[in-house]
Amino acid sequence: MSKTRRLIIVIAVLAICFAFLYPSLQWYFWTPKEDQAIAVGSREQIREYSRRTAYSIVGDLKAKAAAGDTTDLSKEYPLEIQLAKKAYKDSGRPLPKVWNAESILGAYQNEKAIFDAIEAKYREKMLGLKSVHGRALQLGLDLAGGMSVVIQADFQDTAKRVGHELSAAEREDAINRALETLNNRIDQFGLSEPVIRRQGADQIYVEIPGTADPDRINSIIMGKGNLAFYIVDTDATTALRQYLMQNPLGVDEKTMTVAQAGIVPEGKIVRKVYTKDSYGLDEFTGEYMVLESTPGLDGSHIQSATVSVDSITGKPETNFVLDKEGGQIFYDLTSNNVGKTLAVVLDERIKSYAVIQEPIRESVRISGFSADEAQSLATLLRTAALPVTLSVVNQQAIGASLGEDAIRQGEKAIIIGLLAVFLFMFAYYKGAGVNATIAQIINLYIMLAVLSAFKLTLSLPSIAGFVLTIGMAVDANVVIFERIKEELRAGKSRKASIDAGFHKAFWAVMDSNITTIIAALFLAQLGSGTVQGFAMSLAIGNMTSLFTSLFVSRLIFDFETDVLHMKHVSIGWGIK
């Protein structure tokens, strides 16, 4: 292969690696911590954030415009001015000379348009950052801090409660519902979005970065879904909606109370209405409802829930059966409230609502949904009917600052370890040592890129694995260099020695690396957690070091021979 072609290959590999590393650079180096804190939050939190931010910006601009403040705001509101520019252009109007509060506001038809534009901009920005975070190198819990919890579903306990052994399908259903319940609570976990995934037949793995508060997390995980039916106060709901048009932030999110008194009657409560977004996660619809303070019916009375299709209209409906006591309560409730709206509330969130057409007894049909909605409502109702017993079998909590300390230590160990190796290589191999160092730096760079590309997690053991891999990767260089030295001692020319050295060392390097890679890949398949991270970094490091020691390092030698016309090899003391 010609040198140019080899150079192109090396450059192409480096470029591809850069593409994989770019999101990591963007996230860890160019995103401020406070933006990170928002971006790792749930979609709902991001939505809430952008709404509130937009509201306070619009408020500030309005106040400035009203006060006749004409100072230039280019520094303060660059994003908003960018948006306003676009609005001016779209409507075909000339751009204003000065960007003050009035000219920014003047870009839009009305206040809602400004509000929506700014909100969308902030939401896009944060969602963009969120996706960057998803593509960036992930830090393990030992570095980022946080908690991991393995939850075990106890089917025997559930079987005891329902009175018969659970079939395979029922177990499947039960564990999926437990997952669903946890996903529903995703934004209660704290600032960061947790990883929730199934592990084997009966376990759930939850990883919560950033937070390490076992008590709170356990109460979220172990708390049973609290499902109830509430009667909606329609008049108060309408009044609240009108009030919120004027005051978009009139509801305090923490206490769920309305700032202005008199809108919500004494003793009634305000709740948010949710739907499922395309990810199957809860999404706040922006709507609020006022409910009676006590539930009309508790979810524990539900015995089963299914989805069927109405034989006449062909529309899907959700059916559920109540126990005897529940049937009586529900009948009383519905006969007293015909024409009113009934809301299904899970964990303080309104998941669905329907108008009561007629009094209903124990067998209930709710229609007016799409097939998916009917299915998710049925799942929701079943969650209340048959909750599977969960218990924590493994839990690790690591505070974020412990992680930071660990990172600092790891950084120091790596940098000093590598410098020591490089200095040693310079001292012992002179010119060839520089060659080896360049190869090792490229090696490290490719390793990180591969780690990013495969979405592997960087943990402390994998950092240690990297340091060690560098040590081992140097071995490939040493084997080759020692061979070249032997050839030189035998009196061969520079070119011949290098050719022979690489040729003869090839299989030694290949064999030794392949056996290590086999071992590492096998471990990565079967191991878990710590072992896996370690094994993967070892395997990746061995593969990339094959490339750098056999390919990149060779290219550097050939470049020196052919382009710089070197006649001798600088490869140690006493050898010419």
Binding site: E34, A37, Y428, F534
Partner: protein, 417 residues
């Protein structure tokens, strides 16, 4: 030509020494056992610090304010809409005392701080890092703790901690160094009787300590919980993992080399793993998933080292088929000595750096690696190569015997004739 070092002369004593070390290790394993880490023992492992309150902070503005304290700085992250979003880092070098820090923190909008009397002038580095638990400021006030300034303020020792927790059943308490900071590792074994063991045991440890030392004086640094089923499956998996890896290495090296090389390489690897086991048992180092990772790494390192060596032996043998194998072996070991020394030295540099700069279990990990690497380099010469030589001699003898047998048969008719 350089002088050839006669490595083979030391093969027999080396094998004897190695066997003795391994037997000693196995003896320790069966009598003493591993100091099993939390990964292998059902129960909770909790690091607690008995500390003194240093200051208390409240936050009344909108949004969230989170305080994080590390060894070297206090970080305040303000987030959420409507608040000034920012991250403030108060470095302990710039704010050397708790009083300075409290003043700086109190200067932030919405935060007010009250310092406990007697804490103002103390160095900020005494503050207990916020590792576990809620670190969000609210109107209720978050207490930030500090370690005792000197011996006069110490109020707890390991005996008192044991006493405070004696009602919990099977517990273990360990003092974490330095003793002056009053940090203890508490282990409570899961007897399997309480389905909600994790949460209950945690609460009981905290309650027990608070009852003895006072409510404001207990800080939980870290809690790990391992269920019985989890630890069992881990042990089983690790065993099969190592066996499977060895089998794969054996198969690959059998394809690439001859069978005696493959067996020699695997023997060397097993030797290194057992030497590490001996070291871990007798040093009393905790055996956890990281120790497994260390053993697995050495598996990779040792096989790497051995294969490079064997490649050279094989090559030299092809070049000089008529020479005695022992001489060929000694010569290739001598040629490769330079490479062995340089590689080992370079790798040791990185491992030393891990030992010097890491702490706790990561440092143990690096020390285990160090032992394994020395063993790995040694075993290439004195176990793997020694085995190949032994096999070769043995084969030669067998062939000679065969030859002698067939020779005598062939000569018999001659005698008759």
């Amino acid at each position: 030509m350089k002088r050839v070092i006669r490595f083979s002369r030391f093969f027999v004593p080396a094998v004897i020494i190695s066997s003795a070390l391994i037997l000693f290790g196995l003896y320790g394993y069966f009598t003493k056992g591993f100091n099993l880490g939390v990964d292998f023992q059902a129960g909770i492992n909790q690091t607690v610090q008995l500390a003194l309150p240093a200051m208390s902070a409240t936050y009344t503005d909108k949004g969230n304010a989170e305080v994080r304290i590390s060894d070297s700085a206090l970080t305040l992250v303000l987030s959420g809409a409507e608040s000034d979003e920012k991250t403030l880092v108060f470095d302990f070098k710039t704010y050397p005392t708790i009083g300075d820090l409290a003043k700086a923190l109190g200067g932030v909008n919405g935060i007010s701080v009250s310092v406990e009397p007697g804490s103002e002038a103390l160095p900020a580095t005494l503050l207990v890092p916020t590792y576990e638990g809620n670190t969000f400021l609210s109107s209720a006030g978050l207490v930030i703790h500090r370690a005792p300034k000197d011996a006069s303020e110490q109020f707890a020792d390991i005996e008192q901690v044991r006493q405070a927790l004696s009602s919990l059943g099977n517990i273990g308490v360990q003092t974490l160094q330095p003793a002056s900071q009053q940090r203890f590792l508490v282990r409570v074994q899961d007897e399997g009787t309480d389905p909600n063991f994790a949460a209950n045991a945690r609460a009981k440890v905290k309650a027990g300590l608070e009852a003895k030392f006072g409510a404001d004086r207990v800080v939980v640094i870290k809690t790990d919980v391992v269920g019985a089923r989890y630890s069992e499956s881990l042990t089983r998996r690790v065993f099969w993992l190592i066996l499977g890896t060895l089998a794969l290495i054996l198969i690959y090296s059998m394809i690439r080399f001859k069978i005696e090389y493959a067996i020699g390489a695997v023997l060397a690897v097993v030797h290194d793993a057992l030497i590490m086991v001996a070291f871990i048992v007798w040093s009393g180092m905790e055996f956890n998933t990281q120790s497994i990772a260390a053993i697995l790494t050495i598996l990779g390192y040792s096989i790497n080292d051995t294969i490079v060596q064997f490649d050279r032996v094989r090559e030299e043998r092809k070049l000089r088929p008529n020479e005695k194998f022992e001489d060929v072996l000694n010569e290739s070991l001598t040629i490769m000595l330079g490479r062995t020394i340089i590689t080992t030295f370079a790798t040791l540099l990185t491992v030393f750096s891990l030992i010097v700069f890491m702490s706790g279990s990561n440092r143990d990990f690096a020390i285990a690696l160090l032992v394994g690497m020395i063993s790995g380099t040694y075993s290439t010469v004195y176990i793997a190569s020694a085995f190949v030589l032994w096999w070769d001699n043995h084969k030669e003898k067998r062939e000679k015997a065969k030859l002698a047998k067939s020779g005598s048969q062939a000569s018999q008719p001659a005698v008759k004739a």
